[in-house]
């Protein structure tokens, strides 16, 4: 462990509205335009002006800096950030010349630039804490929390003069003046991280960003169709959070971080600040029309907005799977079986990150009586497991649990209603899901999932009552299937079970083509599992015109020269493109040689992307260069994962007897196209089988098999060994290689 860390790759990020707000210049100011002009003038040269540096180091408080609460010797982390002297020089020079506007703006920009470094610093601080198994008890800022002398301690301890050329004055001010120094008190309680600035303790009462008293209550009118509805915003609440709270379904794929653009709204009345994220997403015209990302919008006045509901409630959940070995009597009349009012039933549930699937099984015959699917409404907290985890850590743990419980209760009652079965007749409810979904359902703390060494709280087979797990009355027992690790969860174990990995002598490969790209290779004696962060591209995420597999999504593409013929799900007017559409489009572009083997589009399409179709409103649905890069990353992760697993297992590709592709994307995917883009090795072409929802299949098998499913699952977990690819040299090499289209 090093005793100090220089922050690398620091970049200042300015928010114009913050800079202007800091000097009392709001959009209603009569001189707003002049200030903006001058701001942009300075902003042009920002790269040259700002020289951001930062350093963190562990130390202990000296006698001189000790406080009553924190005596000398208290373990602390000193953190110093600076934007250098140049920008401040500009301010001083401008004032000297009588250009007060420029002088004041340069100063405010320097402050804003300095604040913008804070995130990077906190990120490093988190890492340092994780490494040392400690937490942060409090943040101390001189002079109000602690003597200015502490800056001298920090200066000496971090050798600021030698390392960063930072001086200190006799008044203990760090020089350059736009340098900040924070002191973080460490604690052995590693759960605590109170490193953020606390406005309520800050004496700077005139600060324009003081965030203590209630923000002026703001009302937002949501206009949809002919109707209007008013919602009021709470303090510190983004518009997106308020909309979600009020029950609007917003698919925030990135979890409200301003990255996915799925939460866009249009401001019809009122002034809404433009965030830097907005500038990244919208054109100048769109901004003028009022388009904003609701996750980044903290309205300061009443607004009227509208938005297109990105209705993904019809997300097609795949509940199909190979049934041959599980329910041989598919033709049984379900209703006849269900009418037996004394009979007992089980329910199998697959909790996917995006969708949920439920099946009712009659206990006597093991037949599927009814199937229901639904959207996982936790999606509003982020599309992938990482953003859900983060949301849980950020205080939404209870909300996430309630969300999934409500979805499960809904699904169960729909299932019962459809088949006319009474809740009392349910014997067991078995659930298969990935580790994060399991943690969120069972209300476990997700913090350890996200940091090294990524230890789950509990992934053993877990039994509970309906009230405990689902928050509903009933006598049925609830079982959550066991997982292997944080990254390879119960859904994969269920998939292995469904695909007979417990019986096979032949070595088979199971690949779940989802965001987490879990895969398993082996037989009844030994299984190696891993996960590769494939990202959301297969589900249409991070693709400029991307969308889920819902009606109107382009799912198939054929090219004749540069002319595209597309097919959409349910043959509706095209709205966007889903994962299979992206794969098909790319494989076609390759075939037509409009894309080279490095993934570069023909120059003609470089700027605007390759047009595939038009929406009914005449807007282009295109595949951009960036979209192709996203797919490259995803497919390379999958391919490199497969190659590495095979290498580690010590076999050759021809020895893999069968390749099972799991998941909705794998089910719809044209495997020839997947091979064409190099996602799956060509050698596998004749042995690939799409198994659909193998998790659900495994849960059903657990409930219906004659053997003890619990024992088999336990054995599968026991023979499984996880490989961590992130540190694997071979994986990284394979990954780079698999990025190409060759």
């Amino acid at each position: 462990m090093k005793d100090f860390y220089l922050l690398e790759g620091l970049k200042v990020q300015l928010k114009m509205e913050h800079v202007l707000h800091a000097i009392d210049c709001n959009p209603d100011s009569p001189v707003y335009e002049e200030m903006v002009d001058e701001y942009l003038e300075i902003y042009k040269d920002m790269e040259a002006f700002a020289e951001p540096v930062g350093i963190l180091g562990v130390g202990s408080l000296s006698e001189a800096a000790a406080t009553e609460e924190y005596p000398a010797g208290t373990k602390v982390v000193y953190a110093v950030l600076s934007v250098g002297d140049k920008i401040k020089q500009c301010s001083t020079e401008a004032f000297a010349k009588g250009d007060y506007v420029r002088g004041m703006l340069c100063d405010a920009i320097a402050d804003n630039a300095l604040f913008s470094l804070e995130d990077k610093m906190l990120e490093k601080l988190r890492e340092m804490c994780a490494e040392r198994n400690v937490g942060i008890l409090r943040r101390l800022e001189a002079p109000h929390d602690i003597s200015m002398k502490v800056q001298k301690d920090a200066w000496e301890h971090l050798k600021l003069k030698e390392r960063l050329g930072i001086d200190i004055t006799c008044g203990y001010m760090l020089d350059p003046v736009k340098t900040s120094c924070q002191v973080f008190v460490l604690t052995e309680d590693k759960e605590v991280f109170r490193a953020q600035h606390d406005c309520s303790k800050c004496p700077n009462l005139n600060c324009k960003f003081r965030n203590v008293e209630d923000r002026k209550a703001v009302k937002v009118t949501v206009r949809k169709g002919d109707g209007c509805r008013d919602i009021s915003l709470e303090k510190d609440e983004s518009l997106m959070d308020a909309l979600i709270r009020e029950g609007y379904y917003i698919s925030a794929a990135c979890g409200g971080k301003g990255r996915c653009g799925k939460c866009k709204i249009c401001v019809l009345e009122g002034q809404a600040d433009i965030s830097s994220e907005d500038r990244g997403f919208f054109s100048k015209e769109e901004l003028e029309q009022g388009w904003r990302l609701s996750c980044m919008l903290y309205p300061r006045e009443n607004l009227t907005i509208s938005f297109e509901l990105n209705d993904e409630s019809q997300f097609e959940a795949i509940s199909e799977y190979r049934k041959d070995k599980i329910t041989e009597t598919e033709a049984t009349s379900y209703n006849d079986a269900a009418k037996d009012s004394d009979g007992l039933y089980d329910i199998a549930i697959d909790i996917g990150t995006t969708t949920l699937a439920f099946q009712l099984l009659d206990k006597a015959g093991g037949n599927v009586c009814s199937t229901v699917s639904a959207v996982n409404n936790q999606r509003r907290y982020g599309a992938d497991v990482v953003s859900r985890m983060q949301a849980s850590i950020d205080g939404k743990k209870a909300e996430l649990k309630e969300s999934i419980q409500a979805d499960l209760r809904n699904g169960i009652s729909r299932l019962l209603k459809e088949s006319g079965v009474n809740l009392k007749q349910i014997d067991t409810i078995a659930i298969g899901c990935n580790t994060t979904m399991g943690h969120l359902l069972l209300g476990y703390d997700c913090r350890s999932l996200g940091v090294y060494p990524f230890t789950p709280v509990n992934i053993r087979l877990t039994e509970g009552s309906m009230s405990e797990v689902l928050g509903m009355d009933g006598d049925a027992g609830v079982v959550v299937l066991p997982g292997i690790s944080t990254f390879v969860g119960g859904d994969i174990v269920a998939g292995l079970y469904a695909c007979d990995f417990d019986k096979n002598d032949d070595i088979c490969l199971l690949v779940d083509l989802g965001t987490n790209g879990e895969m398993a290779l082996g037989n009844s004696g030994k299984i190696m599992v891993t996960s590769t962060a494939a990202g959301p591209a297969f589900e249409g995420g991070n693709i400029s015109c991307g969308m889920g597999s819902v009606a109107g999504a382009i799912c198939s593409v054929k090219l004749e020269g540069a002319k595209a013929n597309v097919r959409t799900i349910k043959d509706e007017a095209p709205l966007g493109i889903c994962g299979t559409g992206v794969v098909e489009a790319v494989s076609e572009l390759l075939r037509e040689e409009l894309l080279d083997e490095t993934g570069l589009l023909e120059e003609d399409y470089f700027e605007e992307g390759f047009p595939l179709a038009k929406t009914s409103e005449g807007k282009n649905i295109s595949l951009t260069q960036k979209d192709i890069r996203e797919l490259q990353l995803a497919k390379a992760a999958v391919r490199a994962g497969i190659e590495t697993l095979i290498l580690r297992y010590g076999i050759e590709k021809k020895q893999v007897a069968k390749i099972y592709l799991a998941g909705g994307f794998g089910y719809r995917l044209d495997t020839a196209k997947a091979i064409a883009i190099g996602m799956i090795p060509e050698e596998f072409a004749d042995r690939i089988e799409a198994v659909g929802n193998s998790c659900l299949a495994g849960v059903v098998k657990y409930l219906t098999a004659d053997e003890s499913g619990a024992e088999v699952l336990k054995k599968l977990v026991q023979v499984s060994e996880e490989i961590n690819l992130s540190m694997d040299v071979d994986f990284n090499e394979n990954y780079m290689e698999a990025m190409m289209f060759e």
């Binding site: 009569p30 001083t92 004032f95 007060y100 506007v101 004041m104 008044g171 203990y172 001010m173 003046v177």
Partner: protein, 215 residues
Amino acid sequence: MAAEIINEISEWLQKGRAKNVKALVEEALEQGIDPKEILNEGLLAGMMIVGGKFKRNEVFVPEVLVAARAMTAGITILEPKLVEIGNEPLGKAVIGTVKGDLHDIGKNLVAMMLKGAGFEIIDLGTDVDADTFIAKAEEAGADVICMSALLTTTMPYMKDVIDALNEKGLRDKYVVMVGGAPVTSDFAEQIGADYYTADATTAAEVAKAAIAERK
């Protein structure tokens, strides 16, 4: 005619329109209007109005800044003429942030408003020690010494400067003004300063009044 154009200069200055102010000052000079009148009745009068509005919360910092920028534009045209006719400023002020302290925004705004009140400003910057304050004030023949401090650790140095003035027997020669976030009028009194003001506009008004009293 003269009154009209001077009034216009003041109006445009209050709106912060540097270009218009510059053009009108040039025009006024061409018409042979006394540069002193252009300065005092046009530029400075306009600036005082903006300062007053700022004090009453009728306008905010940005409006004052653009007005002051317009004032600079006008003065730049006027300056050679003023030198030519040997115009004396209302007074001279040395200003700086005291030793150990690098904050300068407050100090810069005070300098701006003093300039708007008709003072000639000798800005010593930040981290200024007692010897520099005194030497520069003597050299320029200043009337006012303005000190700024933003920290409790640097605030006491203001007393060091005043003590040094006393030692040299120069204290009564100058109006000494202090300001900055932690400074109070009690503190100003304790260390033997003449005036404490809470904001830049008041500082300019007080300095102007103090000079009038002396002369």
